[in-house]
Symmetry: C2
Subunit: 276 residues, 2 copies
Amino acid sequence: MNRKQLFENIQRKRSFLCVGLDTDIQKIPEFLVDEYQDAIFEFNKAIIDATADLCVAYKPNLAFYESLGLQGWEALERTVDYIRDNYPDQFIIADAKRGDIGNTSAMYARTFLGNMVFDAVTVAPYMGEDSVTPFLTYEDKWVILLALTSNKGAFDFQFIADETGEKLYEKVLKTSQQWGTTNNLMYVVGATKAEMLKSIRSHIPNHFLLVPGVGAQGGSLQEVARYGMNQQCGLLVNSSRQIIYASSGTDFAEAARTEALKVQQEMDELLKQAGI
Amino acid sequence: MNRKQLFENIQRKRSFLCVGLDTDIQKIPEFLVDEYQDAIFEFNKAIIDATADLCVAYKPNLAFYESLGLQGWEALERTVDYIRDNYPDQFIIADAKRGDIGNTSAMYARTFLGNMVFDAVTVAPYMGEDSVTPFLTYEDKWVILLALTSNKGAFDFQFIADETGEKLYEKVLKTSQQWGTTNNLMYVVGATKAEMLKSIRSHIPNHFLLVPGVGAQGGSLQEVARYGMNQQCGLLVNSSRQIIYASSGTDFAEAARTEALKVQQEMDELLKQAGI
């Protein structure tokens, strides 16, 4: 999916919501596990059907699928194919946080952007240019590079400043702009640091940002929009647990829809306020 | 495997070689692909049988297996189980370079150190403490944290210095020592920067280092030993392509053994010189 299509979807659906499919076999309703061999896929399918008109992106986190071995990979592949076949306007993100030496990153890129039908993959910047660029060679596919993450550990290294005062995450933003463009590179910026979006936007006014950490991790959607939105929205805001685990009963899909709808309505309002 | 056992294996086998199982379906002998349904596993099995007495560790890089989807994961699981069942003295490393927020890293840790029988997993430091510590909760299992990598991109961020002159990779070494011990934490330090091992050893005299980049990537084993070896060896030196792709014919396993033997003999000499 290209940038134009993504923005059109945001305008049409009045939403910049990304639903995180962090599907944990320990947390999904028990009746699904009893009833279905591939309970993970059945859960995802129900969540997707209940929310697809309210969001523009889905983001399975690979850790949750890998932890189930072969069965997990199969559920992941089925989920991605299901979204692609039934909701072709969804932007699908492999939240994989990969990154390795060039020839190895090329293998990861092939996995997620070539063999599987993801639109984007999250990549960790520590190993630098040749660990990132192999992901940028696929047409209309995206790298979402970690810049400022939403966890406590973000403070360990991401804020280290050089002698000019430039912080590591700023260096990541600055340097990586030479590797990709606003058409194939986004950044992860945690919502728990929403006020920092203002300074981040001074470095990258036009790039899309993937913002995790709204909801269960504590960030505020309004703050994110205030500091992070640009003329083409420029935001994908992720919510995982708050939506997908809204209920552990048989009404889990409806409950997920109710939560997603609340977020979408707030997003509609924020888009209006921004003249989008 | 604990530190004592690892050192005993090094002493007994006169080797600190780690064989990297970067097994690429495009690069293994064609007759294997024609003959076997699971050619990746058959290749690995032959390489392992030919080299197990010459090395102390195997390191499958996950990218190569993931790129084959379900089939790849199955080959990986079979490979790890084969090593564990037949060569229980081998230290098995999941070269996965993972790292995510705490609850997600815990899932990755469970995958590689709980469900699968790896001894260690490589982890990227960008997201800080809570992305690393979930991997440190498994007894006699290890985190191998990226510090200074062997690729060109290492220069993009890892050498950024703060106002006191301390570089990012040094900060990673220093800070992460508060998270783990010499009994559950190792570091990746690329052999292409062997002369830097001297200063690295001033920060972490006793930790084991996993050193990639000897051979195909250009580093020198003698330099690595000169600057990096400590009283308990403290080194695992990885070689992948130079060994596993030594021949593309039916003699691929023998050729791998010949290459591994050369390295082992050099290592024997270096251990003797160090009085080990």
